[in-house]
């Protein structure tokens, strides 16, 4: 398959789930990221060691581990956001849909569009709910009001916040509760039709009810998107993810089906961490 066709295939898969389900039968298509022997340094300090893992498509992959284990660094490497730190150096490969993202020819902008990110603290722009969600599509050149209206409504619906904000679309997003702001941020990420959504502790600043809503939402979103979530909440990882990766001191210690990892981990370090013996 040519690269052009491959890219087209990816785009179609985001636009139309059914098409993607029909066309993604060939081997290797069931993963979005293929990470091989990834090493990463901040200057002289190595933060990731020989990380290899395959991130499955349309599943929730959780990344757990104690503070400073490299899980957020790993997440930010997947959309090359980590390169905003000037002293960062990497080796190894990350393939997104079979293309090495470190390749000079690979467009960073394309990657950032396809791989959206939601942060720990809700970070809406100081704009209206509508303008927050329409921000990305506008940057991509969409100007027609009807099209933008449609995108905003669909994204807010997909982020399970539409009913709560449909009557206040033009009010400042700062006026919403923390949990609502976070779902608006998720809607903003969805508005550019990503393929993968990275979430960096998306509920750590939220109350239990808002957390439950975001967790429910993640379950819905995985029908259309592949999700990678960094979380400090072990029970959250156990509840919402299909696969779990345990990082320790920059090393991927164990990567397994979540049910197996939480019931019967194979590595003693995983067992000790998830049972709270250290960390």
């Amino acid at each position: 398959m040519s690269k052009v066709m491959e890219k087209k295939n990816v785009e179609t898969s985001v636009e139309n789930n059914k098409v993607s389900a029909n066309t993604s039968k060939k081997a290797g298509d069931s993963s979005v990221f293929m990470v091989e022997n990834l090493n990463l340094w901040y200057g002289a300090d190595q933060a990731l060691y020989e990380v290899s893992m395959e991130v499955p498509e349309k599943k929730v992959t959780a990344i757990i581990g104690p503070s400073g284990c490299g899980k957020s660094t790993f997440l930010k490497t997947l959309n090359r956001m980590v390169e905003m730190v000037p002293i960062v150096k990497t080796s190894g490969e990350i393939k997104y849909r079979n293309e090495n993202i470190f390749n000079n020819k690979f467009q960073k902008e394309y990657l950032r569009t396809k791989v959206g990110m939601v942060f720990q603290k809700p970070n809406p722009f100081p704009k209206s709910v509508y303008d927050n969600v329409a921000y990305g599509p506008r940057i991509h050149g969409i100007k027609k009001k009807e099209v933008l209206d449609q995108i905003v409504e669909k994204s807010l619906k997909d982020a399970a916040i539409w009913d709560e904000v449909k009557d206040r679309l033009h009010e400042n997003a700062y006026g919403l509760s923390g949990g609502q702001q976070q779902r608006v941020c998720i809607a903003r990420a969805l508005a550019v039709e990503p393929d993968v959504i990275l979430m960096d502790e998306p509920t750590s600043a939220l109350d239990p009810i808002s957390t439950a809503k975001v967790e429910e939402l993640v379950q819905e979103l995985k029908k259309k998107y592949s999700i990678i979530i960094v979380t400090h909440n072990m029970q959250q990882a156990a509840r919402i993810s299909d696969k779990t990766a345990f990082f320790l001191n920059g090393e991927l210690v164990e990567f397994a089906d979540t049910n197996n990892l939480f019931q019967n981990p194979q590595d003693k370090r995983t067992e000790d961490y998830i049972t709270g013996r250290f960390g």
Binding site: M234, A238, F262, Q263, N264, E271, I274, T275, G276, G279
Partner: protein
């Protein structure tokens, strides 16, 4: 160590299970003695004491459920608590079978005039050895010991088959004592069930250690 308090609570639960196992073994031992001695008073004591064992099982269950709710355990911690609930439930059922034997003793009454077959005692001794082995396997989380329980259970099953056959033959030549002979067959059945529960405990120990289910009866 982080969560030292939780580890202590788990240890305490383990001690309670061992204590319940000792009581359960004692209840069978006592029931067998009462049966052979036709000691109705002792039989009544066993029946009465069952409530104490039930309460111990309930306490273990309550504490395990509370720990699940409060500590949200995973992996081996979760398996330890699930096993605690299941093992204590098996022990409680075992004690019920001791009670059933005591009730059979009451049914037989004093001066029933039949000889209690010595094979029942042999069966009970094997069953009590199984309890000792299960406690050891549980304490040291040793699956090789747990697996031995299956062989011992086979011995019990075989003996049970023999006793039932003998009792049937006995009813043919002593039809007037059929009620009494039936009680002996029942006792054999209770000991056989008692041992089955110990095999379940062995399976739970296997699950606790390996995180997988294992059928010791195969």
């Amino acid at each position: 160590m982080i969560r030292a308090h939780f580890v202590e609570e788990l240890e305490d639960l383990k001690e309670q299970i061992k204590d319940l196992a000792v009581d359960t073994k004692y209840s069978l031992d006592s029931a067998i003695h009462a049966l052979y001695d036709a000691n109705l008073e002792q039989a009544r004591d066993i029946i009465e004491a069952d409530a104490i064992l039930d309460a111990k099982e309930e306490k273990i269950n309550d504490e395990a459920v509370l720990m699940i709710a409060k500590q949200q355990p995973v992996a081996s911690d979760l398996r330890r608590l699930v096993s605690a609930i299941k093992i204590s439930s098996d022990l409680e059922r075992m004690a019920d079978h001791s009670t059933n034997i005591a009730k059979a003793t009451l049914h037989l009454g004093e001066g029933h005039g039949i000889k209690i077959t010595p094979e029942l005692r042999e069966m009970a001794i094997t069953a009590m050895d199984m309890v000792d082995l299960a406690v050891k396997a549980f304490e040291y989380e040793d699956i090789s010991l747990a697996k031995k329980l299956a062989d011992m259970d086979d011995v019990i099953d075989k003996k049970y088959g023999q006793i039932v056959k003998e009792m049937l033959e006995l009813t043919a030549i002593n039809p007037e004592q059929i009620q009494h002979i039936m009680q002996m067959a029942y006792v054999a059945r209770y000991i056989e069930r008692f041992a089955d529960h110990i095999t379940n405990i062995g399976e739970n120990i296997f699950y606790l250690v390996k995180g997988k289910t294992y059928d010791l009866n195969k």
